[in-house]
Amino acid sequence: MAEYKKPLPAVSSLNQPYWDGLRRRELTLPRCNDCGKIWYPPAPFCPVCWSRNFAWQRLSGRGKVNSWVVFHQAYFSSFKDDIPYNVAEVELEEGPRLLTNLVAVGNDDITIDMPVEIVFDDVTEEVTLAKFRPTRKA
């Protein structure tokens, strides 16, 4: 695998299960066993009801584009060749919103509320990123 030069995620004791899940090709987030809330970012207890009774749950990997931007300025040298690249905020079916890059779609073809589905991008041997593409009709 070619050397990956883009920034890598800051893995912590709290978000380790998220990154482990992506490595297994599963999108997972904590879900409260008391109130049912699924939340992002990871937290030590439910941010709604403060219950510590939660479990990591596998999600559908489907969502919609809540908003997006296109970078025309290369802030990171590692993204220079990608200019202009998109960053989208995807709202998952289960509620939480994730920042991501949309793939397999031109920047001019992105629309608000566009249905998208997850693509697992193994960027290094340890790290897999959750990216999204327009949902393919079954």
Binding site: V69, F79, V87, L129
Partner: protein
């Protein structure tokens, strides 16, 4: 509400700043020292009259409070400092007001020093920007893993959502930078004074689309200082007091995203119709938005003027795009905003330059850009904090 006890109890008694410039090649301690001395001179005060310091922006962009205390030979009974974000302007002034009211200090200098040119790597976005490295991401939506970096990118997310949700356009947004540049053209201290048109805005390059270069504030150097004391003490000083009549703090929680109001639907916010009601700042001051003679806001990005107007009820949700057209927010209009030229055109002194301008407006010191008979001026931000000043 307890804060009503502070209404008009404290005042700004002196303001001062350095020249502002894109690249001043000056030490941050030097800049801070000049701003503090100018503010003391403005208020007819001496070094020994100053016994408190609150710094809004220290290392790595500005000078830290403890450094200034010993390097400048200040004689402080209290100092404090916020971390390197621009959002703390009102907070610093609120804490200063509480400190002098509680007797912790007699007079507190509130200060920001900015030297963006003093560092080899750009601090706003990219590898030199530590925001995205914070656990759970940056305060403006930074997530460098996906190339999401710089405060402006979070504002671009809000702008895209705003355009889609309310049917507004980038062409309409041009009214904000055009108005503020017009004000800067009347302000000798402003860095960017050449008037711009809506076409100039549309033709300027995209930085983070849908925001154009002219939607972005300046990156520059300078320092500005505001001295807060009790109203009783202020009345004995050189300049007429500018009273702090109302204040509300910086709200936080899952319903907050720095560049917009609750219910907007960015980050983890829910989506609902936002109705501000009468915000606490107005209750404390005994005023309403209709009483405000001029409005100042943290305009790091032009879209923030829209979300601030809606957050405080100057217009309804989704109405700021239309509200800001036709010169309404220009001097001579119904609600002049950022008469100094704002962060967009006077300079990015984290809103401290706006506080200086507010005080001067209320003293009638603003020459060509003076708002006629200004009595009540508000500082109110997209992120929800506010101050109401009166003369």
């Amino acid at each position: 509400m307890a804060t009503e006890n502070l209404k008009d109890k404290t005042a700004v008694c002196g303001v001062g700043h350095t020249p502002y410039g894109r690249r001043l090649n000056r030490s941050t301690i030097d800049l801070a020292g000049e701003a503090i001395r100018n503010a003391l001179d403005d208020g007819g005060m001496e070094r020994d009259d100053l016994d408190g310091l609150i710094v809004s922006f220290g290392t790595p962009i500005g000078a830290d409070a403890d450094t200034l205390a010993y390097a400048l030979g200040l004689k402080l009974k209290m100092y404090n400092q916020t971390w390197a974000h621009g959002r703390f302007t009102a907070s610093c002034i609120q804490w200063a007001a509480m400190a002098v009211n509680a007797g912790l200090a007699n007079a507190v200098a509130c200060l920001a020093t900015i030297s963006f040119s003093g560092f080899r790597r750009p601090m706003m976005g990219g590898a030199g920007d530590s925001e995205g490295a914070r656990e759970a991401g940056g305060g403006h939506g930074e997530d460098p893993v996906f190339g999401m970096t710089s405060p402006g990118a979070g504002a671009a997310l809000v702008a895209r959502k705003y355009f889609a949700r309310f049917g507004a356009t980038s062409q309409q947004l041009a009214a904000v930078p055009v108005a503020f540049r017009k004000h800067a053209s009347l302000n000798p201290a402003a860095i960017m004074r050449e008037p711009v048109t809506a076409d100039d805005h549309q033709n300027s390059r995209f930085v983070c689309e849908p925001l154009h270069l002219l939607d972005y504030c300046l990156i520059n150097d300078g320092a500005a200082c505001v001295i807060v004391t009790t109203s009783e003490r202020a009345r004995d000083l050189r300049k007429p007091p500018v009273y702090l009549s109302g204040m509300q703090g910086l709200p936080g929680g899952r319903e907050e995203f720095i560049w917009t109001y609750p219910g907007f639907g960015t980050s983890q916010q829910d989506v609902f119709d936002y109705r501000p009601g009468l915000q606490p700042v107005y209750q404390m001051a005994g005023a309403t938005p209709q009483d405000v003679d001029a409005l100042f806001t943290y305009d790091a990005f032009s879209i923030l003027a829209w979300t601030a107007l809606e957050r405080f009820g100057f217009c309804g949700q989704g109405e700021a795009a239309a509200f800001t057209q036709g010169g309404r927010i220009e001097v001579g209009g119904a609600l002049p905003m950022n008469t100094n030229g704002g962060l967009l055109s006077e300079g990015h002194i984290m809103g401290w330059n706006h506080q200086v301008e507010i005080v001067r407006q209320l003293r009638g010191e603003c020459g060509q850009r003076q708002v006629a008979d200004a009595r009540i001026i508000q500082w109110a931000n997209a992120y929800g904090d506010s101050l109401i000043y009166r003369r």
